[in-house]
């Protein structure tokens, strides 16, 4: 199981700003190891953010997203004490969901 994400969600005016830091290697599949063999690709493909059961952002990523990806976005609404959930799926089928309380 992958390491947890760090999520921060803050109310800014009438919207909520979400910042996510994920823990992932994000191997491109193009890099070679010391033996000259290709390191297999391993990267996050899908990211979904939900708030109150509603999807507020969904993304498809390629291997060009940096290691330990950072993501920030804003959505309308959201109140203190409510939860935002972030889920990612990588190309090995690994999955992780974390949630944060809006403050």
């Amino acid at each position: 199981m992958a390491d947890p994400m760090r999520i921060r969600a803050n109310v800014v005016g009438d919207s909520t700003e979400v910042k996510v830091l994920m823990n992932h290697e994000m191997e491109t599949g193009l890099r070679k190891d010391a033996q000259g063999k290709n390191v297999p690709a391993w990267f996050i493909q899908n990211v979904t953010a939900t708030y109150n059961g509603k999807t507020v952002l969904s993304a498809q990523w390629g291997p060009a997203v940096a290691k330990n990806p950072f993501l920030s976005f804003k959505f309308k609404g959201g109140a203190k004490g409510e939860k935002v959930q972030i889920t990612w799926t990588d190309n090995r089928g690994d999955k992780r969901t974390d949630e944060a309380t809006i403050s």
Binding site: S15, M26, T28, L30, R31, K32, Q45, N46, K54, T55, V56, L57, S58, A59, Q60, W61, G62, P63, A64, V65, A66, K67, P69, F70, L71, S72, F73, K74, F75, K76, G77, T89, D90, N91, R92, G93
Partner: protein, 157 residues
């Protein structure tokens, strides 16, 4: 030109493509592919191919698409912050494309109504290159370009 690659591009349908990839031994059995991941789009090498794979027409340059928190010179190509803001009404998705990376498309973000068309993330860049922010709004495509100079490459090693 690699003939197999041409064939792959012509098939169009995602299912056939996956089957062919598996047959060609590019995908190991048991490697689960996430649903809703546009494998064809992430394998493209040029703007035209990417647009075709995303199912769009020719994008037009627009002042409504801007980069924020994006450097002119990136010291480390492995971590280049990129922020894209769209002022175009009804923005449906934002994509980030890097011209000189091995595969051009870096990320696609779908923006549902109620979410602000403003995204910040970090990407890898192999070398100095133009990057494009591609915005889909009301079914039409708009883009903005910016050159980022990279002093240390972030792809390969």
């Amino acid at each position: 030109m690699n003939p197999r690659r041409r064939n792959l591009l012509q098939t169009g349908s995602g299912m056939t493509l996956l089957t062919m990839l598996a047959a060609a031994g590019w995908l190991q059995p048991g490697m689960a592919l996430a649903e809703g991941w546009n494998a064809a789009a992430f394998d493209t090498k040029s703007m035209d191919e990417t647009m075709k794979a995303l199912g769009g027409g020719t994008p037009v340059p627009s002042k409504g698409v801007t980069f924020v928190q994006t450097p002119d010179i990136a010291e480390n190509g492995a971590v280049v912050p990129v922020g894209v803001v769209s002022a175009i009404p009804n923005t449906q998705s934002i994509a980030i494309l890097i011209e000189k990376n091995p595969n051009m498309l870096a990320a696609v973000f779908d923006i549902p109504p109620g979410t602000e068309p403003s995204i910040t993330t970090r990407v890898k860049m192999g070398q100095s290159s133009n990057i494009y922010a591609l915005v889909k709004a009301d079914g039409k495509y708009y883009f903005a370009a910016k050159e980022i100079k990279v002093t240390l490459g972030g792809c390969g090693g």
